[in-house]
């Protein structure tokens, strides 16, 4: 039977290897997919509106054409909203990594400055009579 200290070490190792889905990443993926779907639906609505308008016949095609215009405008709105959602999802992941990298580089820079200052201060102390 595994001793308890071994069990704790095994637990820590298993936890370190555990695959955990980041909930915010899954929201960004959903946002991206909905955005693409929105853009596709918007374009399709526009095409459908065109065929509706083109197919308007009879003595008074105006009502059908008006319906086609409304449908086309809805398509534009859906496509724009889809584009916005897509950008939100795509940028969120990029900006998250950019922020982490920026923080890492600033910390590294601060460490270099501190090290340089400490080295300079020691040099001055050594030079003093």
């Amino acid at each position: 039977m595994q001793g308890q200290p071994d069990r704790i070490e095994q637990f820590k190792a298993d936890i370190a290897e555990l695959h955990i889905t980041d909930p915010s990443a899954s929201r960004d993926n959903l946002s991206t997919r909905l955005g693409v779907a929105g853009m596709a639906v918007g374009v399709l609505l526009g095409v459908y509106a065109y065929t509706l308008s083109f197919g308007a016949t009879g003595d008074n095609p105006a009502p059908q054409q008006r319906d086609a215009i409304v449908l086309a405008l809805i398509g534009v709105a859906v496509a724009v909203a889809g584009a916005a959602l897509y950008l939100k999802g795509a940028l969120a992941g990029f900006l998250r990594f950019w922020l982490v990298r920026d923080l890492h580089e600033r910390r590294a820079q601060t460490d270099r400055v501190v090290e340089a200052l400490s080295g300079g201060a020691e040099g001055l102390e050594n030079e003093q009579p």
Binding site: P5, I8, F11, K12, D14, I15, A16, L18, I20, P23
Partner: protein, 236 residues
């Protein structure tokens, strides 16, 4: 610095619009027994559900062995060694004791080893091995629930209301077992409404009232202030 097996910071959770946990901070050192006390409706069971991954937190961090585990699946957490013995025992009333233990072999352990360990720790279960769990007494069912959890060799054991519906003598017997389990090095979080018995085995105690930790300290410190903590006088 004390090695923390479990660390919770500003944890919030609830059910839809109802927030139950309102910013919990809790630390469980490795090998320690931490008692979480509180009246009915304080959020004790919700806290354990969140720690076990059964309920997602709405805010805050849960760290196991130094790693943030928010969003981890409950079956993954159980597989790595976090075991929850739920309120109400969670046993299958139409399965026998032996069948319950057989279920634990999914973890890769041999049935013979599981049975030997269980029957040595709980001789009463050995006598009842062929008995259907639903016909056993409350205390025996609780032993079975505890045995089933221990058979997975947990690193962190969480017990929810071990004493619920049981006679004081049985509760004492069960907590003697909890002390023995703790002595073997398993870290334990035990949630209880009735404080006196659990404070005898705990290393650290926290009082949870209305979703907030209102007091943390050694069992001796907490025992003296329990009345005021429950009734809210300690809340400023």
């Amino acid at each position: 610095m004390t090695d923390l097996l479990l660390s919770v910071r500003d944890l919030r959770a609830g059910y839809g619009p109802i927030e139950v946990l309102r910013g919990i901070d809790l630390a469980v050192p490795t090998g320690a027994v931490v008692a979480v006390l509180g009246p009915n409706g304080a959020g004790k069971t919700t806290l354990l559900s969140v720690l076990a991954g059964l309920l997602p937190p709405t805010a805050g961090d849960i760290e196991l062995a130094g790693r943030r585990v928010n969003g981890a699946r409950p079956d993954d957490l159980a597989r790595v060694g976090l075991c929850l013995v739920p309120e109400g025992r969670g046993i299958f009333p139409n399965l026998t004791v032996a069948e319950h233990l057989r279920m634990v072999t999914h973890s890769g352990r041999r049935l013979a080893d599981i049975q030997a360990e269980t029957y040595e720790r709980f001789p009463r279960l050995a006598e009842r091995r062929s008995q259907v769990a639903g016909t056993m007494s409350g205390g025996e069912q609780q032993m079975l629930a505890l045995a089933r959890g221990l058979a997975t060799h947990p690193a962190l054991l969480m017990l929810d209301e071990l004493s619920m519906g049981l006679a004081p003598l049985i509760v004492e017997e069960l907590y003697a077992q909890v002390a023995s389990i703790a002595a073997s090095g398993v870290s334990i979080v035990v949630v209880e409404q009735f404080a006196r018995t659990v404070l005898g085995v705990a290393d650290l105690a926290a009082v949870l009232v209305h979703g907030r930790i209102v007091a943390v300290g050694s069992p001796a410190e907490i025992e003296g202030d329990l009345h005021s903590a429950y009734l809210g006088a300690a809340v400023q």
